[in-house]
C-alpha cells in the first residue's frame, strides 16, 4: 500500500511537531536550553502537572470538564502531610499510610464531584468549580492557613536522588502515566470513556451505564490529582492550601494543547504528556531566554484559545454557550 499522509494524520502529529519546534527554537536562542540539567529542571516542574493533567484527561475524554483540581490537590496534600507527620514522620514506617490516605482523599472528593454532577444533573464545569472552592476551604480549615513542613529524607529523595540525571519523581510519574495508558487503552472502562465522548446518546443506547462511568472517571481523576499533590509536596517539602494553586489553568491548557478535544472522544494520556511538555518547555524557555515568568498566565491563555480553536470540528456545532 502506498503511504499517504492525510490531513487527519498531520493533525494528530501537530502537538509533537510543535514540541520539537519549540525545543529547536529555544536551543537556537540559548544553547544552554538543550542540556540534561535543564531538561531535569523541566521534568521537575512538569511531573506534578503531568499527574493532574492525566487525571483530567479522562474527564475531558468524556466531553465533560473538571475544574476542582486546585481544591482536591490542596486537601490531598494536607491530608498526606498530616498523616505522615502524625505517624512517625517517615514513609519508611507507619507513615507510608499517608500515601493511600491522600489517594483516598482524592478519590473521595472525585466521587463527590461525580455524584453531584450526575445525580443533581449540574453541568460538570460548575459542579467541579464549586467543589474546588469547597476543597480549598476545607484545606484551609484543616491547616488553619499554616504550612506543614515535610522533612523526611526518604520521601524527599523523590526530588534529591537522581538517576541518569533525572530525579526519582520523574520515573514515578512515568510509571503512573503507563498505568493511566493501560486504563485508557486496555480496560473496558477506558474504552467506554471514548464511547461517551464520541456520542453520549449512542453510548447510552448501546446499554452503557453512562452515569456510573462518569462517576468512575471523576474518581480516577481525583486519584491522579492526589498523586500530583504528593509529587508537588515532594518537590517543595511543604504542604499547604496554596499547593494546588495554578494547577487548574496549567493542566487544562496542557490537555487541550496536547490535542485532546474539549468535545471529547479523541486524544488520550500520551497527548497529555506532549501537552504538559509543551507548556513546561515554553515556561522554562521563556525564563532561559530572559523573559519574566509572569507572562506565563497570558501565554497559557493564548495557547488554550488557539489550541481549542484549531482542534474543534466546528461543523459539528451549531452554537456554543
Amino acid at each position: 500500500m502506498a503511504p499517504h499522509i492525510s490531513g487527519e494524520t498531520i493533525r494528530r502529529w501537530i502537538p509533537l511537531l510543535v514540541l520539537l519546534g519549540l525545543v529547536l527554537f529555544f536551543t537556537t536562542l540559548n544553547p544552554h536550553f538543550l542540556s540534561v540539567r535543564n531538561f531535569a529542571r523541566i521534568a521537575i516542574s512538569a511531573t506534578p502537572a503531568l499527574m493532574v493533567a492525566v487525571g483530567v484527561t479522562f474527564v475531558i475524554l468524556m466531553g465533560s470538564i473538571d475544574l476542582s483540581m486546585e481544591g482536591t490537590i490542596a486537601v490531598a496534600a494536607v491530608v498526606f502531610a498530616l498523616i505522615l507527620n502524625r505517624l512517625g514522620g517517615s514513609v519508611m514506617g507507619m507513615g507510608c499510610l499517608a500515601i493511600p490516605g491522600a489517594l483516598a482523599a482524592g478519590a473521595a472528593l472525585g466521587a463527590i464531584n461525580g455524584l453531584i454532577h450526575v445525580k443533581l444533573k449540574i453541568p460538570s464545569f460548575m459542579a467541579s468549580l464549586s467543589l474546588g472552592f469547597v476543597g480549598v476551604g476545607l484545606a484551609l480549615l484543616i491547616t488553619g492557613g499554616d504550612r506543614i513542613l515535610i522533612a523526611d529524607p526518604v520521601f524527599r529523595s523523590l526530588l534529591t536522588v537522581r538517576l541518569g540525571g533525572f530525579p526519582l519523581m520523574t520515573y514515578v510519574a512515568l510509571f503512573c502515566l503507563v498505568v493511566a495508558w493501560f486504563i485508557q487503552a486496555n480496560t473496558t472502562t477506558g474504552r467506554n470513556f471514548y464511547a461517551i465522548g464520541g456520542g453520549e446518546e449512542l453510548a447510552r443506547g448501546s446499554g452503557l451505564n453512562v452515569g456510573r462511568l462518569r462517576i468512575i472517571a471523576f474518581v480516577i481523576a481525583g486519584i491522579f490529582y492526589a498523586l500530583g499533590a504528593i509529587l508537588a509536596v515532594a518537590r517543595l517539602g511543604i504542604a499547604e492550601t496554596e499547593t494546588g494553586r495554578n494547577f487548574m489553568f496549567i493542566s487544562i491548557t496542557s490537555v487541550v494543547v496536547g490535542g485532546t478535544a474539549l468535545a471529547g472522544g479523541s486524544g488520550g494520556v500520551w497527548n497529555t504528556l506532549i501537552g504538559v511538555l509543551i507548556v513546561n518547555v515554553i515556561g522554562n524557555g521563556m525564563v532561559v531566554i530572559g523573559l519574566p515568568d509572569y507572562f506565563q498566565d497570558g501565554m497559557l491563555g493564548l495557547l488554550v484559545i488557539s489550541a481549542v480553536y484549531l482542534s474543534m470540528d466546528r461543523r459539528a456545532f451549531s452554537f456554543v454557550k
Binding site: M62, G63, S64, I65, L67, I116, H117, V118, L120, K121, I122, P123, S124, F125, M126, A127, L129, S130, L131, G132, F133, V134, V136, G137, L138, L140, L141, G144, G145, E200, E201, F249, I252, V256, L262, G264, P292, Y294, F295, Q296, D297, G298, M299, L300, G301, L302, V304, I305, V308, Y309, M312, R314, F317, S318, F319, V320, K321
Partner: protein, 314 residues
C-alpha cells in the same frame, strides 16, 4: 404553572428576609438602619461585578475572568491616577470592556466554550496586571486620590456615595435588560438560542455585547475597590469570583439563562452580604465561609437550573 414554579420567583427575597430575621433574632442591633447600610456598602464592588456577570449568565454563558479583570483594574487605576486623574477610572472601564469583548469574540467567532475562553482571557488580564505592577502592591497618593475620586467616598444624608454609584450602575444594567432591544435579545438568546438564530437575530454581536458589559462592570468593580483600599495589586480582588457567582445564582438567575436578571442579583448580593455578616455574628470561622458558599452554590444551581434545555448534561 405549578405552585412550586410560581413560588420559585419569590424564593430569593424570602430567603433574604428569612436570613435577616434569623440574625435579627440573635442580635436585634443587626437590623439597625446604619448597620444595614454599612452591610450593603461593604459589598458594593462585589455587587457591581455580579451585575455584569448576570448579563452573561442570562444568555446562558459564564464569565470566569471577572476576578482577574478586576485585579488588573486595581493595578491600572493606581498606575493611571497620577497622569489621568479621574480619567484613569474611565480608561480602565474601557479596558475592561475590551477584555470582555475579547472573551465574547473568542466564544462566538471561534466557538470556544465560554468557561474556557473567559478563563484564558482572565489569564491574559492577570499577566497584564503582573507586568504593569511589577508584581508589587501599589499605593495611591492620598492627595491625588482625594482630588480624583473623593466624590466616591463621602456620604450624603448618611448614605455612602459608593452605594449610590452601585445603585446607579444597577439601574443602568436594569435599563439595558428591560428597556432596550439588546436586553430583550439577551432574553431570547438565554431562552432558546437556536430560535433566536432562526429569527434572524445577529446573536453573535449581542453575545459579544453581554461579555463586553460584564468585563466593563468587573473593571468598574476593580476601580471602586482600589479607590476604597487606596492602592492596587494583581491579587487585590482575590476571593471575589465565588461570592459573585453565588450572588447571581442565589438571586434566581439560573445557569441556563433566560430568566432572572439584574434585579435578582441585587437580592442575591444582599443575601451574600447578610450571610457573610451573620457568620461573624454566629461566630463561624472565616475559613468556613468558602466551604459554605461552595455548597450554597451547588444547591442554588441544582434548584434553579432548567433541565428541559439540556438533553445531555456534560
Amino acid at each position: 404553572m405549578t405552585f412550586t414554579e410560581r413560588m420559585r420567583r419569590h424564593f430569593p427575597w424570602m430567603t433574604l428576609l428569612a436570613a435577616l430575621l434569623v440574625v435579627g433574632i440573635t442580635d436585634i442591633r443587626f437590623l439597625l438602619p446604619e448597620n444595614l447600610v454599612g452591610l450593603a456598602s461593604d459589598i458594593v464592588p462585589l455587587f457591581i461585578m455580579a451585575e455584569g456577570m448576570t448579563l452573561v449568565i442570562y444568555i446562558g454563558g459564564i464569565d470566569l475572568s471577572s476576578q482577574s479583570v478586576a485585579n488588573m483594574a486595581t493595578v491600572l487605576t493606581t498606575l493611571g491616577l497620577p497622569a489621568l486623574g479621574v480619567g484613569s477610572g474611565g480608561a480602565v472601564a474601557l479596558a475592561g470592556l475590551a477584555f470582555g469583548a475579547a472573551s465574547g469574540l473568542v466564544t462566538t467567532r471561534w466557538k470556544v466554550p465560554s468557561f474556557i475562553s473567559t478563563l484564558a482571557v482572565g489569564g491574559i488580564a492577570l499577566s497584564v496586571a503582573q507586568f504593569a505592577s511589577g508584581q508589587r502592591a501599589l499605593h495611591m497618593d492620598a492627595e491625588m486620590r482625594r482630588q480624583a475620586f473623593g466624590w466616591m467616598l463621602g456620604r450624603t444624608m448618611g448614605v455612602p456615595h459608593e452605594l449610590l454609584i452601585a445603585l446607579a450602575l444597577g439601574a443602568i444594567a436594569w435599563f439595558v435588560q428591560t428597556r432596550m432591544t439588546a436586553g430583550r435579545i439577551f432574553k431570547a438568546i438565554g431562552t432558546a438560542e437556536p430560535v433566536a438564530v432562526a429569527s434572524g437575530v445577529r446573536v453573535g454581536r449581542y453575545k459579544i455585547l453581554a461579555f463586553a458589559l460584564s468585563g466593563m462592570f468587573a473593571a468598574i468593580a476593580g476601580v471602586m475597590f482600589s479607590v476604597r483600599l487606596s492602592g492596587g495589586s494583581p491579587t487585590l480582588a482575590e476571593g471575589f469570583l465565588l461570592p459573585a457567582i453565588v450572588a447571581v445564582l442565589v438571586g434566581g438567575t439560573p445557569l441556563t439563562g433566560g430568566v432572572g436578571g439584574v434585579l435578582n442579583t441585587l437580592i442575591g448580593a444582599l443575601i451574600v452580604a447578610v450571610v457573610r455578616a451573620s457568620m461573624l455574628y454566629l461566630n463561624i470561622p472565616a475559613t468556613g465561609q468558602q466551604i459554605f458558599f461552595g455548597l450554597v452554590l451547588i444547591t442554588a444551581i441544582a434548584t434553579t437550573i432548567d433541565r428541559t434545555k439540556m438533553r445531555v448534561v456534560k
